[in-house]
Subunit: 447 residues, 2 copies
């Protein structure tokens, strides 16, 4: 029932499929004017597993192994200039180009022509082998791949990039090949446990677990047994997927799992709701460094952890810590029980008789709140807090000369040094460009 309704929205029509094929052929023929190397359409467009509203074409050019990165880069740039006029240079393990052709996003990716994935120089060299494997087994199950992709997209679990840390398109296809259908993938997922191993062929579980330790889902790549196709999946997203898989079978409203009702939130309303909580919201706004998503998301995530650890070390209680990225800015956001703390705290000192004892006693003996005292095996002292106000703490932290030494990643450090930061307080945090996301984090909703 839901299947037809969903597919009607996400599956391309016969006409759309034909148009895509025609355009792909045009692009390939255009490219072939400028090269004698093999040129191939790969990816979901080539396998008919693309979603209707995605008009992406991944075109690979196969270079001999004696070409170096720089030469390949120049080569594809030259072609891009001729075909697209305007193009972007993108970087993964090595550069590729991206341009628009008659409304389609076209990526031209240089790779090596190799006969065994073991010979690969970078991970894109594996892509043709992925394509070969999937093409062979996916026939007749393309619609199930689309359902799974749409389900994941709707939950913000689709994509292996840093921004999402979810399921790649290739992983979706492999899951459908493994379990046969969209519903079977979900049914199996309801039983997944941390460290779940999936493979098409026999693997030694204990060795695999050792190799991919800390990764919640391990799907052994059929073209390279040393690779986990699900390596990018975060622990959080692994558990989210399992939870929503279960919910899917329990719920009568299957459609909501594919299409979310996005409510447009009013700023005043969001602020009013927030004020009723009585908590404190703190924002640190910086200019977005001019680097790709992959880098900024990874650095912002690390930076958030550094901020959070600093805040917690100073006894503030955090309800929520998030970062949000736009084209221009990065916002770090903390919701605290309170932005103030009492003046005095119990300061835990060293073990009695340890080598730190002398320094501790020298520092605190004669303290106006009383001398240090022994409880169980340890010294304690009543001491004044360094930071009774979160804004003081953050200003002190960010005005340090040595931001790197406290773990602030390079591009974020650079941005702060060059453009400074803006400290936002409560309703000031509700910036228009992040409003919807802020609301979603402050008032989470299970579908």
């Amino acid at each position: 029932m839901y299947r037809e309704l969903v597919l009607k929205k996400i599956s391309p029509t016969v006409e759309e499929k034909e148009e895509l094929k025609r355009i792909a052929n045009e692009v390939i023929n255009e490219i072939k004017k400028y090269t004698d190397f093999d040129v191939k359409l790969l990816g979901s467009a080539a396998r008919d597993t693309w979603l209707r509203y995605e008009k992406d074409l991944d075109v690979f050019i196969f270079f001999p192994k004696d070409y170096n990165k720089e030469d390949m880069e120049r080569y594809v740039e030259e072609i891009a200039r001729k075909i697209f006029g305007k193009y972007e240079k993108k970087y993964a393990e090595h550069p590729y180009v991206r341009g628009n052709y008659k409304g389609y996003d076209v990526e031209i990716v240089p790779c090596y022509k190799i006969s065994d994935p073991k010979e690969k120089a970078s991970s894109v060299d594996r892509t043709p082998f992925h394509h070969e494997f999937v093409s062979k087994y996916i026939k007749g199950k393309e619609e199930d791949v689309r359902l799974l992709k749409q389900f994941l997209k709707n939950l913000n679990l689709y994509g292996a990039e840093e921004k999402v840390r979810g399921f790649s398109g290739y992983l979706c296809e492999l899951l459908i090949i493994k379990y046969g259908s969209f519903e079977n993938v979900l049914r199996n997922a309801t039983k997944w446990k941390f460290g779940e191993i999936i493979s098409f062929f026999y693997v030694d579980k204990s060795k695999v677990l050792e190799k991919f330790k800390g990764q919640p889902l391990i799907f052994i790549d059929p073209v390279d047994e040393n690779r986990n196709v699900a390596a990018a999946l975060s622990v959080e997203n692994f558990y989210k997927f399992i939870f929503y898989a279960k919910e899917f079978f329990k719920s009568n409203d299957k459609l909501k799992f594919f299409f979310k009702h996005e409510e447009k939130i009013q700023k005043e309303y969001a602020i009013e709701l927030f004020k009723k909580r009585g908590t404190s919201l703190i924002g640190i706004l910086i200019k977005r460094p001019d680097v790709i998503d992959e880098i900024i998301y990874s650095q912002a995530r690390k930076c958030l952890r550094v901020f959070r650890e600093n805040i917690e070390r100073n006894d503030f209680r955090i309800l929520l810590s998030e970062f949000l990225v736009s084209n221009n800015n990065v916002l770090f956001m903390f919701e605290l029980e309170s932005d103030k703390l009492p003046r005095i705290k119990l300061h835990k000192g060293p073990i009695v008789g340890s080598k730190e004892e002398e320094r501790f006693l020298r520092k605190y003996r004669g303290n106006i709140y009383g001398d240090p005292f022994i409880k169980e095996d340890r010294w304690y002292v009543f001491a004044e807090r360094k930071y009774k106000d979160i804004y003081e703490l953050i200003n002190d932290m960010l005005s340090r000369k040595d931001l790197k030494s406290i773990g602030i990643p390079s591009y974020i450090e650079k941005s702060i040094k060059e453009s400074g930061y803006k400290l936002l307080k409560n309703e000031e945090v509700f910036l228009d460009e992040f409003l919807d996301e802020i609301y979603k984090r402050l008032f989470p909703k299970i579908l």
Copy 2:
């Protein structure tokens, strides 16, 4: 130098010693009028290790092994009535009596006449063997015992009873026998580590550690290798002793280790100082149950732990938790950073997919602060605190019908049920009867 000055104050004069001997003989002769059993003076009076201001006589009556407890009890009560007129019945493992004789505190203790400590029926049966051992080896070192006792008294470390949990008189004597002098005891103590083993004869260290696990100091009883003479010593007091032993050698003012300058504190001054801290003081005052110190201290200590755990479970930050006991009352006292907490907290839920998940989601889904959400492998939700005010928490806790089930010990439960409790707030906690102690805990002083 300090030695003579201290001994002059704490060592009995020749006249005082003669008086004590005379009185002891009188008491023994009086007792012998009513019994044919052996009667003996034991304890520090008999060994000349008593302190000048202690006028205690421990007189033991040796019963044949076929006497039962009840008969011995009646027997010594009968004697006490005749000698003292007024007497108290006291309870250790079995009852003994206590009365005043010409200004001396006299305890008459019934024990069995046995030839080997292994035959003992209760721990008092060991006392004659302790006496025999100490008498044999302590000669000439009595003054050192006095110095050690005085040193410990001054630091509130003297006595094995629940109130103190420190060093017994017998332990002091054994330490002097073992190390030869007061200063040598301290010198050795500076090197003690948790689980320190001291013995006059060879012992298997690993077996001893296993048997007395958790006890910081293990002094094997020379008359019973299965007993740790220092069993009553608390971890805290073990470390305090080590610390002050070190301090003693570092300090030029040795006298302060024997005689503390006790300042008489003014209530208004104490309250003023406390208010400057800006913390919150909470007192729970109950009527002291009519039981001996040994029981009330043990139960109050346990009760304090129950209170503390309850308070911490509810997120209040404790600086100080203490209990104080007078003849009439027991005061539980907590110093908190603040007596209020913010309304909303981050409530940690179960692991995603665990069996507690369903109940948790049923409870919190649709919560006004947002649905539960997944972080890493777990559910969380923004939830209202049950207790935002410490007084509410304590009133709720103490008005329960089932105080026992939350761990409140029997006599304290009885007292609360019969006489209620009084909740004290900040300056109200500064009760006259506890003023000095409260001040000492709030403003601790290293000598």
